[in-house]
């Protein structure tokens, strides 16, 4: 018997709030006929206002969606409605059947396309490797531009320190222009950090200047650094490694438990972060996925479930970000619903260890266990009766924090989130029955 997704997970796949709402109306059996699932896919026909029903298929592993409706939203309300129906009323979507012909056709076609894409990826990686001389020339050219950018940034930072951060004219604005210079210098990582300076509280400015100075300085000597730390510096400055290239390297196969997910939308792109932890290796991993407006990011894994798969990690002193390679089966319920965690003191020690290896680490994915969320005049805290961690909001909306308080009800809970020098930012909480709740929206 496959594990059906939680309502929350299904709703998290929706590209926007109207889609969620429309899907809710399609979540009862009434408009559906010919529904079924074989554990890998769902299918069904949904009666709309027209004479022919819409044909909807969902492939559960990726997940991927197909619907004959004309919606430009992706996934559409029919796909979401079918998922809701399946998750909430198992009897309404009978298991074990064969897909209808139209569903089977699409699923087969899709599988072929996926295989072709994998082949193309491999071919591309091989092509890149085929002309190492050209690749090296390109890399050297870019390195030089980034180095010049980093040097300029050091001068700019030092200038402002010379004049004083309290000097509003010099210290508090104008970083946008420098950020543009960093983009020109092909150092997008530096550009992002520089842009943030305009929004940093004055009390925190020196710390941010110092860390940015450290990064720019480190890039100036990147070839002298140990290889892993050098990779960290390159990644933070803005060098990326192609997924295909990573996947040709070593991968880690494990049963990866999904600890949580957070979407960060901006006007052009929604970034989805998915945190995993290997059941065998205990390694944390962070996957990123992206979606344009009106489209959900292309990767979705249900929090709490376990996926047997191979991951390739981006190189670095403290590898965390990874890409998803071969999957071995669909996500499944975890043996231990609630992940094992640490105390607040251990969590901070763990973050400290991460900083020791990669000084620019802002936070480290951490499972806290046995903590009670407390709301008082100073804001939100997490306490285990011995120590207290400040809860760092980091854009978390108020309702999410109250959801955390409700799930806890003043009793200790297990909490996944990011532990850093600003505090702990929660992502997922497990209730007394071991069910995860997302706290990010």
């Amino acid at each position: 018997m496959e594990e059906r997704w939680s309502t929350e997970h299904v709703l998290s796949l929706a590209p926007d709030a109207p889609s969620r709402k429309a899907a809710g109306k399609l979540s009862s059996p009434a408009p559906w006929s010919g529904t079924g699932t074989d554990g890998q896919a769902l299918w069904g026909e949904c009666k709309g206002s027209g004479s022919t029903p819409y044909r909807t298929v969902v492939e559960l592993t990726t997940p991927a969606y197909r619907c004959s409706c004309p919606s430009r939203k992706f996934p559409c309300k029919h796909a979401l409605g079918l998922l809701l129906l399946w998750s909430g009323s198992p009897e309404a979507v009978p298991a074990g059947g064969e897909p209808a012909d139209w569903a089977a056709d699409w699923l087969k076609e899709r599988q072929e396309r996926t295989e072709q894409a994998a082949e193309r990826r491999t071919a591309k990686a091989e092509a890149a490797a085929a002309d190492p001389a050209a690749a090296r020339r390109r890399a050297e050219k870019r390195s030089a531009r980034v180095a010049a950018g980093a040097q300029e940034l050091r001068l700019r930072l030092a200038d402002r320190i010379r004049h004083g951060l309290a000097d509003d004219g010099a210290g508090r604005s104008g970083w946008e222009e420098v950020a543009a210079r960093m983009v020109d210098a092909q150092a997008p990582g530096l550009a992002t950090k520089v842009r943030e300076l305009d929004h940093t509280a004055q009390g925190d400015l020196l710390e941010e200047y110092a860390m940015l100075h450290l990064l720019a300085t480190a890039y100036g000597r990147v070839d002298e650094l140990p290889e892993a730390l050098g990779a960290t510096v390159r990644a933070r400055v803005g060098f990326t490694t192609e997924t295909a290239e990573l996947l040709t390297g070593p991968t880690v196969r494990d049963r990866w438990q999904v600890l949580g997910v957070r979407d960060t939308p901006d006007e052009r792109l929604t970034t989805r972060r998915l945190w995993l932890r290997g059941a065998k290796t205990g390694r944390p991993a962070l996957l990123l996925a992206f979606g344009r407006p009106g489209q959900a990011p292309d990767l979705a894994l249900p929090t709490g479930q376990v996926l047997e798969a191979e991951l390739a990690f981006h190189p670095g002193a403290r590898p965390l970000r990874a890409v998803l390679g071969t999957r071995h089966g669909a996500p499944q319920p975890s043996d231990d619903a609630v992940p094992a965690g640490v105390s607040p003191a251990e969590a901070l020690a763990g973050y400290g260890a991460a900083v020791a290896e990669d000084p620019w680490t802002e936070s480290w994915p951490t499972v806290l266990t046995g903590v009670i969320p407390v709301h008082d005049v100073d804001g939100w805290h997490l306490t285990d009766g011995r120590d207290t961690l400040r809860l760092h909001r980091a854009g978390l909306p108020e309702p999410a924090l109250w959801r955390l308080a409700a799930v806890s009800g003043g009793r200790p809970v297990t909490l996944f989130g990011e532990c850093g020098h600003r505090g702990f930012t929660p992502v997922t909480v497990w209730d007394e029955l071991g069910r995860p709740s997302g706290l990010t929206q």
Binding site: K25, G164, G203, L348, P359, H375, R403, A406, R411
Partner: protein, 568 residues
């Protein structure tokens, strides 16, 4: 930034030195000397100081990384008491999903093939509450937010939220209304939904947890609480221990403001008994006119009260059975004396009707209905059938059939029937259910039929309304339907569907029935779905009625699924 961090003072000082220098600028202030732990001093000493600005950044980087790597948790903070356990079983998965969807649908409207989901939320809440279920904790904030925005949801939402809801409300000022909401059976919700659930765990209504507050607390809420909290507290107390509630009110009565006295007095409706009479009698002498009127109204519903007896005396003086029981003769009061005014009759007619008619109506409305049947030995129906005439100046009566006071008398009886919840009188006043083909729009029905209907038992209400709709269609049925319990009984639903069919075939437009249609989506029995679907397929395609029926059918299916999910 420093709340999670407890660090040695020297290290904190060193950081402050660097920060001050950075704020002023290295042009104006020299670099601080290395300080802190020996390791930090050693590292700081190694920094190249040729350019002070660069050196400051390096020192700051050194110190910042050290601070981050060495961050320590803060000292323990008291966590406070946990929420009391909630023994109710949790919602089934599908029902929890439905609640998520209904709460999610609270903003905007997507239009389309179903009723607005927000309209179905009240029914979902009432049903879930009646089933004695508990929502998953993670859904409570959204539930409480909805109830905050829509006060009509509060009774059921607060009861459903249970002890955890109260615990949250004590911590989040946005949800303070939870502490002011009375949730026990009589106060709120749909009359059709049984609110006492035969709770097998014997814990009673979890919404009433506050009733078990320590006596000291009660005292505190009454003396220090916000006004709404005090009303809630008094109402709760009246439902469990009316005498204690009265004592509490009596204790502070003379110090309360007039507006507050009025609403506190209103709260005495719960658990009203002869024991309250002396207090209410005294309130007849209150400075505030509204307080006096409310006290009089409460006393008039206490059948054995002195006020009711005084009113009955006045009524007997005003109405007399004449012609050996074949007519009623009316002698309305000629003045509103001080005693009448003290008993709550306003000397000036607020409606602009004749003053004598007004005084007369007030007296009849405040007279125990039993007075009439006991005095005459006639049933309400017989009394209503008698001609009514003016007794005339000599009291001998003019034409007893002139009907001068008929409407005033019936109006007064109707008000009394509603006030005293007298089903026999309400039934007699409404008359038999109208029958098609006859002009049963009983010119004789006095008062507001919807109010009289509300006095009758639910099945009778539904049957009467169904008959009314069969006879008269939907045109005037809106308020009557509103008085019926939801979901409507199958016969009432059938009558409504048939009336809609007639409306569709008679060429009217759906939007001329939009009020009834909106109610229908919430209240029609789900069993009516096949009939509505048949109407949808019979209607001419792409017409407004086809769309209306299709939407109604879809909504019924949705409601049927929604309610089925709550069956455990």
């Amino acid at each position: 930034m420093t709340a999670t961090r407890t660090e040695p003072a020297a290290q904190a000082d060193a950081w402050e030195e660097l920060r001050t220098t950075a704020l002023l600028g290295t042009d104006r202030r020299p670099l601080p000397a290395p300080a802190g732990s020996p390791a930090l001093v050693a590292a700081a000493t190694a920094v190249d100081r040729t350019d002070p600005a660069t050196a400051l950044l390096e020192l700051a980087a050194l110190t910042a990384v050290r601070r981050r790597a060495g961050a320590r948790p803060g000292a323990v903070q008291p966590a406070g008491p946990a929420a009391p356990a909630d023994p109710r079983p949790e919602l089934p998965v599908a029902a929890a999903r439905r609640l998520t969807v209904l709460l999610d649908g609270r903003s905007g409207s997507a239009g389309g093939t179903l009723a607005n989901l927000t309209e179905l939320l009240p029914q979902w809440l009432a049903t879930a509450r009646a089933r004695g279920l508990r929502p998953p904790a993670a859904l409570l904030p959204a539930l409480l937010d909805s109830a905050r925005a829509r006060s009509e949801l509060r009774g059921d939402a607060v009861a459903l939220a249970g002890p955890l809801g109260r615990w949250l409300a004590e911590r989040n000022p946005d949800w303070r209304f939870v502490l002011r909401t009375v949730t026990d059976a009589a106060g709120t919700g749909d009359p059709a939904v049984p609110t006492s659930t035969g709770d097998p765990t014997g814990t009673g209504d979890p919404g009433a947890v506050g009733d078990r507050a320590a006596p000291g607390d009660e005292h505190r809420i009454w003396h220090e609480g916000l006004f709404a909290e005090r009303v809630t507290h008094l109402t709760r107390l009246r439902r469990t221990d009316p005498a204690a509630g009265l004592d509490l009110l009596r204790g502070t009565w003379t110090t309360e403001r007039a507006e507050d006295r009025l609403l506190f007095l209103d709260a005495l409706q719960d658990g009203l008994s002869p024991a309250d009479e002396p207090f209410l009698e005294a309130a007849l002498g209150d400075r505030s006119k509204n307080v006096r009127a409310t006290a009089a109204e409460l006393l008039s519903t206490l059948a054995g009260s002195a006020l009711a007896t005084r009113m009955a005396e006045r009524a007997r003086a005003a109405v007399r059975l004449a012609g050996t029981g074949r007519a009623l003769l009316v002698t309305p009061p000629s003045e509103c004396d001080a005693a009448m005014q003290r008993d709550g009759v306003a000397p000036k007619s607020p409606t602009g009707r004749g003053e004598r008619a007004w005084w007369f109506g007030e007296i009849v409305a405040a007279t125990p209905l039993r007075t009439w049947t006991d005095d005459t030995g006639l049933t309400p129906a017989r009394l209503l059938g008698l001609p009514v005439g003016d007794a005339g100046p000599d009291g001998s009566g003019t034409d007893p059939a002139d009907g001068t006071w008929t409407d005033d008398l019936r109006e007064g009886w109707a008000r009394a029937a509603v006030r005293q919840h007298d089903a026999d009188w309400a039934r007699a006043l409404l008359g038999p259910a109208p029958r098609p083909g006859r002009d049963g729009r009983t010119a004789r029905t006095a008062g507001a039929p919807a109010k009289l209907l509300a006095v009758l038992p639910a099945p009778e209400r539904a049957a009467w309304t169904a008959a009314f709709i069969q006879a008269h269609g939907l045109g005037e049925a809106f308020q009557l339907l509103g008085a019926c319990a939801t979901p409507w009984t199958p016969p009432l639903s059938t009558a409504v569907v048939a009336a809609l069919e007639r409306a569709a075939s008679s060429g009217t437009y759906p939007w001329s029935h939009s009020g009834v249609l909106g109610m229908t989506e919430r209240a029609l029995a789900p069993e009516a779905a096949p009939a509505v679907e048949a109407l949808a397929s019979d209607a001419a395609p792409d017409t407004a009625w086809a769309e209306t029926f299709a939407r109604l059918a879809g909504t019924l299916r949705f409601r049927a699924a929604m309610l089925a999910e709550l069956d455990v």
